[in-house]
C-alpha cells in the first residue's frame, strides 16, 4: 500500500473526518468551505477569494490533470489566478497520485508541498458538504500525524481584503481608455479580460484614493471575507459615484457597490459555491450559467429607489447584480471572468468597456 500520514479534519463543532495526507505535512486551520465545481483546482487554489479557507471539493477525484507551469504573461500569471495558493488546505475524496495532461509540469501534491499547503483525501466529502451546508461554513483544522496541533483560525476576524490586495499601484495593458481596478483580491483573469479589450488597467490597493487620478471607468474586483471589513473601499466608491464615470463590480465588488448605494448585505442560508448557478437578467428571458463563490448577498429590498436588481438567482431568487437606473453603474455577484467555470457572461466586460 501507498505510504501516507494520517490526517484528521476537525470542525469547530467537534465533528471529525479522518483522511490521508498528500500535500505539505503540517497542520493548518481556517474556515472550511466547499465548491461543487468539477474542474479548476489550480484556479480555485490561487483565487484570492479563498484566502484563509480550507477548500472541500465535492467532485470526488482530485489532481487528475496535474498543475500547469507557473508562468507569467503580460505581467499576470498565465494559468493561475494570482501568484500563489490562497487556500489553506484542500480536501477531497480521492487523490490521483498520477496525473496526465500535456500542460502539466508537476503534480498537485508537488505543488502543494512547494507552497507548504496541506492536502487530504479519503474524506466523505459528500457528508462533509451536507454538514457545512446545514451549519453554514465553519472553522476547522487539519491535524497531521506527527505534526503539532494548531488553534482554530477565523479568517473573518481579519481584514482579508487588506491582506490580499496589492501594496502598490500597478499598470497592465495599454489603450486609450484607462480603467482603475480596485484590487480587493483580484483574480488575474479579470485583468486579462480587461486588457484583452484594449484598455489600460491601473490596479490600485483596496484603500487607495483613486479619485486623485484621471480615469474613464472604475472596476471593483472580487475578494475574500466579509464585505464589512472593506468600509474604506465603500467610501471611495461613493466618491466615484459622484464623479459619475462608469462603474462595474464583481462578487465582492457587487457587495461593495451595493453598500455604497445604501443597500444591506446579509448571510445566505445556503451559500452559492459552484459552477452551475443560474441567473436571469431581470425583465428579460435571458438566462446564464455562472460561476459563483459567495456566502453573503445583497438584500434586494434595501436597494434605494434609483437602483434596481440586474440579475436574479433562478434557484433561490437572491440578488445576483445591481444597476443604477440612470447612471452607468452596474455589478454582478457571479464571476463573468469565470476561471474556473463557464464563460457565458464574459460579455459583461464588453458592456462595461462600451460605456467608457
Amino acid at each position: 500500500m501507498r505510504q501516507f500520514k494520517r490526517a484528521v479534519l476537525i470542525l469547530e463543532d467537534g465533528t471529525t473526518f479522518e483522511g490521508k495526507s498528500f500535500g505539505y505535512e503540517a497542520s493548518t486551520s481556517g474556515e472550511v468551505v466547499f465548491n461543487t465545481a468539477m474542474t479548476g483546482y489550480p484556479e480555485s487554489l490561487t483565487d484570492p477569494s479563498y484566502e484563509g479557507q480550507i477548500l472541500v471539493t465535492t467532485y470526488p477525484i482530485l489532481g487528475n490533470y496535474g498543475v500547469p507551469p507557473r508562468r507569467e504573461r503580460d505581467d499576470v500569471s498565465e494559468y493561475y489566478e494570482s501568484d500563489h495558493i490562497h487556500c489553506r488546505a484542500i480536501v477531497a475524496q480521492d487523490y490521483s497520485y498520477d496525473h496526465s495532461h500535456w500542460q502539466a509540469d508537476r503534480s498537485l501534491a508537488q505543488w502543494l508541498k512547494e507552497e507548504k499547503i496541506p492536502g487530504i483525501y479519503g474524506i466523505d466529502t459528500r457528508q462533509l458538504t451536507k454538514h457545512l451546508r446545514e451549519h453554514g461554513s465553519m472553522l476547522g483544522k487539519i491535524v497531521i500525524d506527527g505534526c503539532d496541533d494548531v488553534d482554530f483560525y477565523d479568517p473573518n476576524r481579519e481584514n482579508l481584503v487588506g491582506k490580499v490586495s496589492c501594496r502598490e499601484v500597478e499598470y497592465h495593458g495599454a489603450g486609450e481608455k484607462t480603467v482603475v481596478l480596485v484590487d480587493c483580491g483580484v483574480k488575474h483573469n479579470i485583468i486579462r479580460c480587461l486588457t484583452r479589450r484594449g484598455v489600460k488597467v491601473v490596479r490600485v490597493p483596496w484603500n487607495y484614493d483613486f479619485t486623485t487620478i484621471p480615469y474613464d471607468g472604475l472596476f471593483i474586483s472580487n475578494g475574500p471575507g466579509n464585505p464589512d471589513m472593506a468600509e474604506e473601499t465603500v467610501g471611495l466608491i461613493r466618491k466615484a459615484m459622484e464623479i459619475g464615470k462608469p462603474i462595474c463590480g464583481i462578487c465582492m465588488g457587487n457587495q461593495l457597490l451595493s453598500k455604497a448605494a445604501g443597500a444591506k448585505i446579509y448571510k445566505l442560508k445556503y451559500g452559492h459555491r459552484s459552477h452551475n448557478q443560474p441567473v436571469r437578467r431581470v425583465g428579460s428571458n435571458q438566462c446564464f450559467i455562472t460561476s459563483q463563490n459567495h456566502g453573503f448577498a445583497v438584500d434586494n429590498e434595501t436597494l434605494p429607489a434609483d437602483w434596481e436588481p440586474l440579475f436574479i438567482n433562478m434557484n433561490d431568487g437572491t440578488n445576483e447584480g445591481i444597476r443604477h437606473k440612470t447612471k452607468p453603474f452596474f455589478s454582478a455577484q457571479f464571476h463573468p471572468e469565470a476561471s474556473s467555470g463557464p464563460k457565458d457572461t464574459e460579455f459583461l466586460f464588453d458592456e462595461f468597456i462600451n460605456l467608457l
Binding site: 474542474t39 490533470y65 496526465s100 466523505d124 459528500r126 448557478q277 433562478m314 463557464p342 464563460k343
Partner: protein
C-alpha cells in the same frame, strides 16, 4: 409560455431494438409522453415494438403497432389529424421518417407542426456536406471529408487525403457501413457496401488516437443554452462511442479544456438552431487544444439517455417541454423540485458506461471493434473512484467477469496485437499486460488510451498483487481490505486473490470475506444523486452504493414496507426491453397496492431505472453481494426475482440460503425447474413426455446415446438463457467439431445431449399461477418449426393452426406442472408438438420474453396479475380468453446482421435477434405483413432470388413460388430450385452459385446489381460447399441491404401474405380499436 394550439401530438417510436438503436428510445419516448400528458395534450404513438413500456396502457392515448415508415405514418396522420409531431424521441428511425415526411410535403399537407428542432436544422446536421458548411460559417472545425457517390471518386479522395482514412455513410444509424481503411483495397470493399445503404459516402482523414469527448446540450427558443453533461471516452477516437467505455464527467480535461469545448458546443447549437436537445461529439488533441467536431445528433440519443441517468437531468422530458414552446426558466429541476431546470448538474460521483457485446453468438463475425457499432447493450456503474466504477461495470456486463482482475481468463495470445487492435476483450488484455509488467507508458503507446485511466487500472493490479501475498483472510490488514473495497473489489475477487487455485468453494469463501469485512465495519454506504452535489437539500430517491464514504444519505425506517424488484441488467441477446416492461409493471402494481416500490438495476437504457417510476431506485449491481448489501439496509417485506429474466432468477437459491423472503414461487421450486435432472425426473413422475436426453461426460457415452436416438441431436451446457453454446448436430463430423468447442466453454460441466425432433411445431405457454393453480394463460404458436430459437421465431397469438386436442393437452400438462412446482407467479413452458404428440422442452418459473406480447394482445396484464399473486392478494381469473379474440397478434424478430460484419445470417437454436416487434391484424397475413415490414423488410416489387433447400422445403415453398409467378414477379433460382420450379411449371431464370465461377449469370452479381429485391435462401444440408455457397449469398444480401428469408415456413407465410394482401388494403387501427 407554451404553444396553446397544440392539442394532439403524434410521437414516432424507434421500432424494434437493434444494434445502434436500442431501449434508450423507450426511455426517451416515455419521458416525452409523460411531458405531454402533464400538459393535457392527447398523444398518439406509432411504434411496433410491443414489448416497450411506452406502448403500454397509461403512457399514450392512442397506440399504433405499425411500422415507422412514411407510408404508415401518413395513414395515421390522415386518420388522427394531430396538430404536432415529435421526431426526436425515436432515434434515427423516427428522424429519417420525419425528414422524408417533411420533404414529400406530407406534414405541410396535413398541417402538422414539427415540435422542437426544425427539420431544416435536422437536415443540416444529417447531411455531412451541409453540416460542414454550416459549421464553417461560424469557424468551427470539422473533420473535412469528401462526399463521393462512386468508388472511383472515393479512391481519388482517399489518395488526396492520405491513408488511413475513414469512410462513413450519410444518413445511417450508429456508424452503419462506416470504417477505417488503411489502403485502397479496404477502401473499395467498404465503399461498395456503404453505397448500398446510402447514396452518399464520405471519405475523411483519420484522427486515430485523439481523445473523444461529448457534450449534451439543451437550448430553448429564447436562445438559453446549457450543457447538461460532458463525457469522455476511455477508448480514443477510432472506436465508435457506442463501442467505447465512457466516463462522465470528463476526467482528463482541465478547466480550460472543459469550458473551451463547452463554449463551442453552445455556439454550435445556437447556430444550428436546435430547440430541445442535441449532442456534440469532439475529437480532441491530447497534446494541444486543437479539436474537430465529429458530429452533432439533433435528437435524443443513446448518449442523452446515458447523460440523463448519469446526472439525474431528464433530457427527454425537458426537450419535449421545450418543443411546446416553454423556456428553460419555466421548468423546474425534477430532482430538487425547487431549483430551476436551467442549470448544469454537478456530479459528486463518477459514472462509467461499458458496452455489452454478444459477438460469441455469431458464426464468422469479426471481433475487432471500431467505427461501426456492434454492441447490443450497455451498463452504467456509479461510484466515487474510477477504480470502483470500472470494476463494478465489468461485473455488470454479465459475461462471467468479476471485475478488472480475478477472472478465470486464459492468457490472450499475441498480447501486443490484442492491445493495439481493439476487440471486445481489450480491457482484459490491459489487465494481462499490467500483470505481466508492461508499463503504463508502453500500454499507452499501444492503445493510445490516456495514461490517467491506465494509472488507475495499475492501482487495481497493485492491490490485487498485495492481496495475493496473503493466503489467509484474517491476516489481511484492515486498511488493505478497505482499500480493496474502495477500489471496487467484490468479496469474490478478494477471495480469489487470497486463495487463488485453492479456491475450491467460492461460495463459502466469499461469505467468509463478507463476514470478515462486516466484522471490521467495512460496509458500503448509500449515496443520493441529487444533481447539485449536496449544495442544496434535495429529496431524491435515486441511489447508489459506494465504499468511498462513511455516511448513508438515506435514513432507513426498517418498517418492512418495501418490496424490492430485481431488474434485468444489460440488454443482451435473449434479454432486453421485454423484461424492462415486466419490471416496470411489477413496480407499478407494488406501488398501487400501497407498498414502497424499490428497484435494483443498472441499465441506463431502461425505463425501470427512471427514478420516478419507483419509490427508491438503487442504480447498482445485481450480484449476490450487492443485492444482499441492499437487502441488509432496506430490510424489505419481500423481494421479487421473477420479472427481470434470468439474472435475478439465478440468485434464487443463494438468496434463499440467506433467509431472504422471495415473493412468489419458492427458490426450491425454481431450482427444481432449472435443474435439468430434477425437472426431468418430475416430468417422468407426472407422466409428461419430453425429448430424450442425457447428461454425458465422455465421447463414448455420447456416441452410445446417439446410436439409440439417432441424429440430429441438440447439444448444450446446463443453466442457459438464450442457448449460448447450444447447437444442433446433424452428423458425426459436426458433433466432434462442436464438442471440442463446447468442452472448452465449460470444462467442469457435463454436456447435455438431447434428441432433436425435426418438423415439429413449437408452442409457448405463458401463464400466471397462484398456489399451484393457473389463473391466466396464453398459448402461442411459432410459425417456424422447432429448431429456430424461440427468441428468433415468429410467433402468432392466438394460435391459428393448432389442433383443439393439442391445446387441451397443453393446458392439462401446464396445470400439472404448475401444481407440482406449486407455482405462485409468472411462468413459461415451451412445448414441441408433432401429430398431437406433445413434449415439454423447457420450463421457466419467471416471466418470459413473450409476456408483454401476450398481455397486450389479450389485453390482460399478466405481470399485474402475477405481482398481485406474489403480494398475496386475491386475484380473479379473467373471464375472457384467447378464443374470444377476433384478431391476431404476430411477434417477429429483428436481426442486426448488417452491423455484424462477416456473421452468417442464418437462424438456429442459438438466439441471434436483437429485438422484436408485435403487430395486430384482422387475420394473420395482415399482422405478418405489418410485422415483417416493421423489422425492416420491404415488400418486393419485381424479382426474387430463390434457393429453397431440401426437397421437402422446396415443396413447402411451391405454392408461394406459384403466387409470385402469378403476380408477375421474376424468379431467379439456383440449380436445384430452378429445376424443381421448371418441373412444376413455374418460369424461373437459372443463376449460378459462387462455387461455379465460370458460369453466368452469377447469383451474387444479381445482388450487386440490385436486380432482385428479396432473397429466399434456405440452407439445405450442412456440407461445407453448401454452407459456403449459401453463406456468400446470405451475407451479400445483408451487406447490400436486400431483405433475406432463411426459413421455409416463414418465407412461405410471408410470400403468401404479401401476394394476397395488397398494402393499401391493410387496416390502420389503433390498439384499442381491436
Amino acid at each position: 409560455m407554451r404553444n396553446e394550439n397544440i392539442k394532439k401530438v403524434l410521437l414516432l417510436g424507434s421500432g424494434a431494438l437493434k444494434i445502434g438503436e436500442a431501449g434508450e428510445f423507450d426511455y426517451s419516448g416515455s419521458q416525452a409522453l409523460k411531458a405531454m400528458k402533464e400538459e393535457g395534450i392527447t398523444t398518439v404513438l406509432i411504434n411496433p415494438n410491443i414489448a416497450t413500456v411506452q406502448t403500454s396502457d397509461g403512457f399514450a392515448d392512442k397506440i399504433y403497432f405499425l411500422p415507422v415508415t412514411p407510408y404508415f405514418v401518413e395513414k395515421v396522420i390522415r386518420k388522427e389529424k394531430p396538430d404536432g409531431i415529435l421526431l426526436a424521441f425515436g432515434g434515427q428511425t423516427a428522424l429519417n421518417c420525419g425528414v422524408e415526411l417533411y420533404r414529400s410535403g406530407i406534414l405541410e399537407k396535413y398541417g402538422v407542426e414539427v415540435l422542437g428542432t426544425p427539420v431544416q436544422a435536422i437536415m443540416d446536421t444529417e447531411d455531412r456536406e451541409l453540416f460542414v458548411k454550416k459549421l464553417d460559417e461560424i469557424e468551427v472545425k470539422t473533420i473535412k471529408s469528401e462526399a463521393v457517390n462512386s468508388i472511383h471518386d472515393a479512391r481519388v479522395a482517399a489518395e488526396a487525403l492520405g491513408y488511413p482514412v475513414i469512410v462513413r455513410a450519410a444518413y445511417a444509424l450508429g456508424g452503419l457501413g462506416s470504417g477505417f481503411c488503411d489502403n485502397e483495397e479496404e477502401l473499395v470493399a467498404l465503399v461498395e457496401k456503404a453505397l448500398a445503404f446510402s447514396p452518399q459516402v464520405l471519405v475523411e482523414k483519420s484522427l486515430k488516437g485523439w481523445k473523444e469527448v461529448e457534450y449534451e446540450v439543451v437550448r430553448d427558443r429564447f436562445d438559453n443554452c446549457i450543457t447538461v453533461c460532458n463525457m469522455e471516452n476511455f477508448d480514443p477516437l477510432g472506436i465508435h462511442t457506442g463501442e467505447s467505455i465512457v466516463v462522465a464527467p470528463s476526467q482528463t480535461l482541465s478547466n480550460e479544456d472543459y469550458h473551451w469545448l463547452r463554449k463551442l458546443a453552445i455556439k454550435i447549437i445556437r447556430h444550428i438552431g436546435i430547440v430541445g436537445e442535441c449532442n456534440v461529439q469532439y475529437a480532441f488533441d491530447p497534446t494541444s487544444m486543437d479539436y474537430r467536431v465529429i458530429e452533432v445528433n439533433a435528437r435524443l440519443s443513446r448518449s442523452s439517455a446515458l447523460a440523463s441517468k448519469a446526472t439525474g437531468y431528464p433530457l427527454a422530458f425537458v426537450a419535449a417541454k421545450l418543443g411546446l414552446g416553454y423556456g428553460l426558466f419555466d421548468l423546474k429541476n425534477s430532482v430538487t423540485k425547487e431549483t430551476s431546470a436551467f442549470f448544469e448538474p454537478a456530479l459528486d460521483y463518477i459514472v462509467c458506461k461499458i458496452p455489452r457485446w454478444d459477438l460469441g453468438k455469431f458464426h464468422g463475425v469479426r471481433r475487432e471493434i471500431g467505427s461501426s457499432m456492434k454492441s447490443v447493450g450497455e451498463v452504467m456503474a456509479i461510484g466515487r473512484t474510477f477504480e470502483e466504477v470500472i470494476q463494478k461495470g465489468l461485473r455488470m456486463i454479465g459475461q462471467g467477469m468479476h471485475g478488472f482482475v480475478g477472472n478465470n481468463q486464459r492468457d490472450l495470445p499475441e498480447l501486443e496485437h490484442a492491445l493495439k487492435e481493439p476487440t471486445d476483450k481489450r480491457i482484459f488484455a490491459i489487465a494481462q499486460a499490467l500483470f505481466k509488467g508492461y508499463t503504463v507508458d508502453r500500454i499507452h503507446e499501444l492503445t493510445k488510451i490516456d495514461k490517467w485511466f491506465l494509472y488507475k487500472l495499475q492501482n487495481i493490479i497493485n492491490t490485487a498483487s498485495e492481496l495475493r501475498e496473503f493466503n489467509d483472510l484474517e491476516a489481511i490488514p484492515e486498511a488493505l481490505l478497505r482499500q480493496a473495497k474502495e477500489q471496487g473489489f467484490s468479496d469474490f475477487q478478494i477471495a480469489r486473490e487470497i486463495y487463488q487455485e485453492n479456491l475450491t468453494e467460492p461460495e463459502k469463501a466469499l461469505l467468509q470475506v463478507r463476514d470478515r469485512r462486516k466484522q471490521l465495519g467495512i460496509l458500503p454506504v448509500v449515496k443520493q444523486i441529487d444533481t447539485l452535489a449536496a449544495e442544496y437539500p434535495a429529496q431524491t430517491n435515486y441511489l447508489y452504493l459506494t465504499y468511498n464514504g462513511r455516511e448513508n444519505d438515506v435514513q432507513y425506517l426498517h418498517d418492512h414496507r418495501s418490496i424490492v424488484v430485481l431488474g434485468s441488467g444489460a440488454y443482451r441477446i435473449g434479454s432486453s426491453v421485454e423484461f424492462d416492461w415486466c419490471s416496470v409493471n411489477a413496480l407499478l402494481t407494488v406501488k398501487k397496492e400501497g407498498w414502497r416500490s424499490v428497484m435494483i438495476n443498472y441499465n441506463p437504457e431502461t425505463v425501470s431505472t427512471d427514478y420516478d417510476i419507483c419509490d427508491r431506485l438503487y442504480f447498482d449491481e445485481l450480484t449476490f453481494e450487492r443485492v444482499m448489501d441492499i437487502l441488509d439496509l432496506e430490510q424489505p417485506h419481500g423481494t421479487i426475482l421473477s420479472v427481470g429474466g434470468q439474472i435475478p432468477n439465478n440468485l434464487a437459491t443463494r438468496l434463499d440460503a440467506q433467509n431472504i423472503n422471495i415473493l412468489g414461487t419458492t427458490a426450491r421450486s425454481i431450482d427444481n425447474a432449472e435443474d435439468r435432472n430434477k425437472f426431468s425426473a418430475m416430468l417422468d413422475r407426472l407422466g409428461i413426455d419430453q425429448p430424450r436426453w442425457r447428461e454425458l461426460t465422455s465421447m463414448d457415452d455420447i456416441n452410445e446415446f446417439i446410436d439409440e436416438v439417432g441424429f440430429p441431436v441438440l447439444v448444450r451446457p446446463s443453466y442457459v438463457l438464450s442457448g449460448a453454446a447450444m447447437n444442433v448436430c446433424h452428423n458425426q463430423e459436426q458433433l466432434t467439431r462442436f464438442l471440442r468447442l463446447a468442452a472448452n466453454v465449460s470444462k467442469q460441466h457435463p454436456v447435455v445431449v438431447s434428441q432433436f425432433i425435426s418438423s415439429a411445431k413449437e408452442i409457448e405457454m405463458d401463464a400466471v399461477a397462484q398456489n399451484g393453480e393457473i389463473v391466466a394463460y396464453a398459448i402461442s404458436e411459432h410459425i417456424e418449426y422447432a429448431g429456430v430459437h424461440s427468441g428468433d421465431a415468429t410467433i402468432q397469438f392466438p394460435p391459428q393452426k393448432l389442433y383443439v386436442e393439442t391445446m387441451r393437452r397443453i393446458r392439462k400438462i401446464s396445470r400439472q406442472i404448475a401444481k407440482a412446482l406449486e407455482i405462485s407467479g409468472p411462468f413459461n413452458i415451451q412445448f414441441l408438438a408433432k401429430n398431437n404428440d406433445i413434449k415439454v422442452i423447457e420450463c421457466n418459473l419467471r416471466a418470459s420474453r413473450s409476456f408483454p406480447f401476450v398481455s397486450k394482445v389479450l389485453k390482460i396484464n399478466f405481470i399485474d396479475l402475477a405481482t398481485r399473486v406474489m403480494l398475496g392478494l386475491p386475484v380473479e381469473k379473467p373471464s375472457k380468453n384467447a378464443f374470444d379474440l377476433d384478431y391476431v397478434g404476430i411477434k417477429a424478430s429483428q436481426f442486426s446482421f448488417s452491423r455484424l460484419q462477416g456473421a452468417d445470417p442464418v437462424l438456429g437454436v442459438d438466439m441471434a435477434s436483437t429485438g422484436e416487434v408485435g403487430c395486430i391484424g384482422t387475420d394473420s397475413a395482415e399482422a405478418l405483413i405489418k410485422a415483417m415490414v416493421s423489422v425492416g423488410n420491404r415488400i418486393p416489387a419485381k424479382a426474387v432470388l430463390m434457393s429453397t433447400g431440401t426437397a421437402k422445403q422446396k415443396a413447402d415453398l411451391l405454392d408461394a413460388a406459384h403466387e409470385l409467378a402469378n403476380r408477375g414477379y421474376t424468379i431467379y433460382a439456383t440449380g436445384g430450385t430452378h429445376a424443381y420450379l421448371n418441373d412444376n411449371g413455374i418460369p424461373a431464370i437459372r443463376v449460378y452459385w459462387p462455387s461455379q465461377p465460370d458460369m453466368q449469370p452469377q447469383a451474387i452479381e444479381l445482388l450487386h446489381d440490385h436486380k432482385v429485391d428479396m432473397v429466399v435462401n434456405i440452407p439445405k444440408n450442412f456440407s461445407t460447399t453448401e454452407l459456403t455457397n449459401g453463406y456468400k449469398i446470405r451475407r451479400a444480401a445483408i451487406d447490400l441491404n436486400i431483405p433475406l428469408m432463411t426459413n421455409a415456413r416463414l418465407a412461405s407465410a410471408y410470400i403468401d401474405a404479401f401476394t394476397t394482401h395488397p398494402l393499401d388494403e391493410i387496416e390502420i387501427k389503433s390498439w384499442d380499436e381491436y
